[in-house]
Amino acid sequence: MAVMSYNDADAGMRSDEVPVSPGVTRRRPNWGRIFAWAALLAILAATLFPFWWVLRTGLSHNHALASQAGSLLPADFTLGAFRRVLGLSTVAEAQAQGGSGASLNFWGYLRNSVVVCTIITVGQVFFSAMAAYAFARLRWPGRETMFLLFLLALMIPPIFTFLPNFVLIKQLGLLNTYAGIVAPFLFMTPFAVFFLRQFFLGISREVEEAAMIDGAGHFRIFARIILPMSAAPLATLSILTYILAWNEYLWPLMVGSGEDVRVLTVALGLFRQQEPAGGAPDWAGLMAGTFLAAVPVIVLFLIFGRRIVNSIQFSGLK
């Protein structure tokens, strides 16, 4: 359908033209362009509507959701669901509003998510950068073979290593610890090494040689020259790593479902299963929690949006 609208697009409009605002179009508007814009706006609306619906439900009262199922505005507006999720209301209050009485301990799970994602991001990016430096800037026997091995690991689907990894973490006694959750991601991913090596290869040799003549060792060159010169790709990789870690579900569910180390995604999955027995699910509470869980990533996206968009387009060209 969307492809069809391309057919109708203004034949005179070429891809190299920067679009002008509708008011100052030099050509008369034609139906093709109007249809094309309508299609794009429809996609944008479909993209954004669920976000509003989550917020709208979170601001509703459970008892009113059934009678006002189609209302675009919150049904019987209340901040009750958000208060419940944030642990600001008593069990009795929560149950009166259709909650299960089980609290979400939102702040605790948020802290766990932040701790886990920060450790993973810092470790993975730094250790991968070290490896990428060795692969890109140092000459040593076995280099090509080892890099090829790293690349081959990209092909292994996660579930294949998942079972043995789980057993390993269990045998090490690391179930329900931060260490167990971060371990498989802490030291490297083949993608991160590959990604950074590409950038390190592009850095000019002269800078490095000048530093060497001044007597700098490899660690100094790595820390003082290579890392600062690669600030942009390092930042991009860090953001992507953080978002992926934030969204991870299966692994933390298996090795870290315990209350003390439970991350937000796992908590939301479990919260859904703790519906009040017999009654309707606590949709308002669930959506309030869902909304809050999405907020940190969205904030990150608002700050770094341009960089993220560009990096994804870049990865498409590789």
Binding site: M1, A2, V3, Y6, A9, S15, V18, P19, A39, I43, L44, T47, L48, P50, F51, W53, A66, G70, A134, L138, R139, W140, P141, L149, F150, A153, M155, P157, I159, F160, T161, L163, P164, N165, P184, F187, M188, P190, V193, H218, F222, I243, N247, Y249, L253, L268, G269, R272, W283, M287, T290, A293, A294, V297, F301, I308, V309, I312, Q313, G316
Partner: protein, 305 residues
């Protein structure tokens, strides 16, 4: 290239043979190498070995040769899970690629706006679990806005997650919502690399927009489309989070995809050896698809020259 130049130079006058750098290199690689061996290489070898054993975690693993694989051939649930996965992958890939291609072309022709590109990427930032929960709510049989709209339109309510027919298309729809913008951006990046004079030449020759799309855009986009397919096929075979949060394999076995089935065998029934054998098969399937697609990728490259 600069590396080779430097290497040639250093072999001439600078006295730093590779051997001297081996120690330093190993120190730099050590943490990553440790992570690679401990969490990628060794588990892969172990997973392969486990697939030949009977192991329930409590007692030691017993070597049983190809028994797991023989059992797998006769397990109707295994074949069902492959069929369900195939259905999901087909719907997901087909719809997503077509819609993303359309969206990318719309973006390319209508606006270069960073805000618009940001908005379409927004769902990709949201955890699968959250997408699943939101879908579960919006498509609820009684209260969901989806069914509310159907009622307004005078249609019957649809039990999106409760019907054997609708469950897989519904889950595919949720994932298309999440990934559409991401895929469209990859294609959009490819569109920007197509030389503009090709379109100018086409316009001078009097080719219609439709014709230019089929004759210029699509052929030149083939390498990017192949890459997109590699990424999305591998990704969609691994659908798990959405199903674990919504249907848990039901109704009956309608959404028991291969990833979820492996997970259940291993962690609900502690049938680790059997689960390992199934993941070996899954890996073989994925490797086969990847090789096939790499061929397509290579076939597409010639068009660019």
């Amino acid at each position: 290239m600069s590396y080779q130049a430097a290497a040639a130079r250093s072999s001439g006058r600078r006295a730093r043979p590779p051997r001297r750098q081996l120690g330093v290199a190993l120190m730099f690689v050590a943490p990553a190498l440790f992570g690679f061996v401990a969490f990628h290489l060794w588990p892969a070898i172990q997973g392969l070995y486990l697939s030949f054993t009977d192991w329930n975690v409590l007692s030691p693993a017993q070597f049983i040769g190809l028994d797991n694989y023989a059992r797998l051939l006769q397990d109707p649930l295994f074949w069902n899970s492959l069929a369900v996965t195939a259905e999901y992958v087909a719907i997901n890939i087909g719809l997503q690629t077509a819609l993303a291609l359309g969206l990318a072309v719309l973006l390319h022709r209508l606006t270069q706006s960073m805000v618009v590109r940001g908005i379409i990427l927004l769902p990709y930032m949201i955890p699968n679990v959250v997408v699943a929960l939101v879908g579960f709510w919006m498509l609820d049989y009684q209260l969901g806005i989806g069914n509310q709209v159907l009622v307004w339109l005078g249609l019957d309510r649809i039990p999106f997650f409760g019907s054997e027919f609708w469950a897989i298309p519904t889950i595919a729809g949720l994932n298309i919502w999440r990934h559409l913008g991401y895929t469209a951006l990859l294609i959009f990046a490819g569109l920007q690399t197509i030389p503009k004079d090709l379109y100018e030449a086409g316009a001078i020759d009097g080719a219609s927009e439709w014709r230019m799309f089929w004759r210029i855009t699509l052929p030149l986009l083939r390498p990017v489309l192949a890459l997109v397919l590699v990424l999305t096929v591998i990704g969609s075979f691994q659908i798990f989070d959405t199903i674990a949060v919504t249907t848990e394999g039901g109704p009956v076995n309608a959404t028991r995809v291969i990833y979820f089935y492996i997970f259940e065998r291993a962690f609900d029934q502690f049938d680790f050896g059997y689960a390992a054998a199934m993941s070996v098969v899954l890996m073989l399937i994925l490797s086969g698809i990847t090789l096939l697609q790499l061929r397509m990728l290579r076939a597409g490259e010639s068009d660019l020259s």
